[in-house]
Amino acid sequence: MNQAIHEPAVDTALQQFRDMMAADGYLLSWYTVDDTSVTVKIDATADACADCLVPKPVMEAIMNQALAKTPYRLNDVILPASEH
C-alpha cells in the first residue's frame, strides 16, 4: 500500500532536486512503496516548461544518488501525463 509519510531524511535528500524542478515549473512529491523504497512523482504546474523536463535517466541518477543517504531506494519516477 502506498503511504504518504513524514520522513525528514527523504525530504532533505530530495530538497535540492525539488528546488531545481520548481525552477522549470514542476512540483515534486514522493510516497513510500514499502519499508525500503519510495516513488517520486513529478507534476506540472501551469507555468511548467514542457521542453525543459530533465530526461528520465538523468532524473533517476539524481534521485538514486540523493536517496543513497537515506534508508530508502528509488522505486519509480512518475512523470506528468504528457511525458509518458
Binding site: 535540492q16 531545481m20 525552477a23 521542453d51 538523468v58 532524473m59 541518477a61 539524481i62 544518488q65
Partner: protein
C-alpha cells in the same frame, strides 16, 4: 507517411559512453579557432559572443565560429558534431539554464571531448545537479563544467558581459591554460 518516427535519445548515449578522458589540452589559445555551440536558449548567443570577444582580446584566439543547435533539450546531432570537430580547435557551449538543456549541454561537452575537442560546457547553478547527473549517466562523473549564477535568460547586455568576465577564469582553467 509510412508510420515510422525518429526517436531521439535525450541522454545522447552511444558506444563510447564508458570513455572518461579529456581531449589533449592546448599549450595556449593563441591562434586557435573557437567554436561557440549555441543551444538557442535566451541570451546563449550573447553570452557566447561576449566570451569569444574576451578570449580573442585577452588570450589571442584567432577566430570564433558560431554553431546553433536545432533543439536545446537533446544532445547535439551527429552531423553538427562532426562539423564542429572538423572546423574548430576548442569549444564553449551554453547555456544550460533548465533541466533538459543543462543535461544536454553537459552531454555535448562530453561528446566533444571524446571527439578530441577541449570543451567548456556552461550551465546555470540552479541546474548544476542536472548537469552532474548527466555526466554520471554518460559514464564521465568527473567531467568538469562551469556553472554561472542563475538566471541568465533575463539579463541585459551589461549583465551578460559581467557573467562572461566572471566565467573567464574557470573557462581558462577547464581548457587547461593559465589565466
Amino acid at each position: 507517411m509510412n508510420g515510422t518516427e525518429l526517436l531521439l535519445d535525450p541522454t545522447g548515449l552511444d558506444g563510447s559512453a564508458d570513455e572518461s578522458f579529456l581531449a589533449p589540452r592546448p599549450v595556449s589559445l593563441r591562434g586557435l579557432t573557437l567554436g561557440l555551440l549555441d543551444n538557442t536558449k535566451p541570451n546563449a548567443t550573447q553570452l557566447l559572443n561576449e566570451i569569444a570577444a574576451l578570449l580573442q582580446e585577452k588570450h589571442g584566439v584567432a577566430t570564433a565560429k558560431l554553431y546553433t543547435k536545432d533543439y536545446f533539450g537533446t544532445p547535439v546531432k551527429d552531423e553538427l558534431l562532426r562539423q564542429v570537430v572538423d572546423e574548430v580547435d576548442i569549444v564553449v557551449t551554453a547555456v544550460g539554464d533548465c533541466g533538459s538543456c543543462s543535461a544536454a549541454t553537459v552531454a555535448d561537452g562530453i561528446l566533444l571531448e571524446r571527439a578530441g575537442i577541449p570543451t567548456v560546457s556552461i550551465v546555470s547553478d540552479s541546474f548544476n545537479m542536472s548537469g552532474r547527473a548527466m555526466a554520471s549517466v554518460q559514464g564521465f562523473p568527473g567531467f568538469d563544467f562551469h556553472a554561472v549564477p542563475h538566471p541568465v535568460a533575463s539579463l541585459d547586455g551589461e549583465q551578460i558581459r559581467e557573467r562572461a568576465e566572471q566565467a573567464l577564469p574557470q573557462i581558462l582553467r577547464i581548457l587547461g591554460v593559465e589565466s
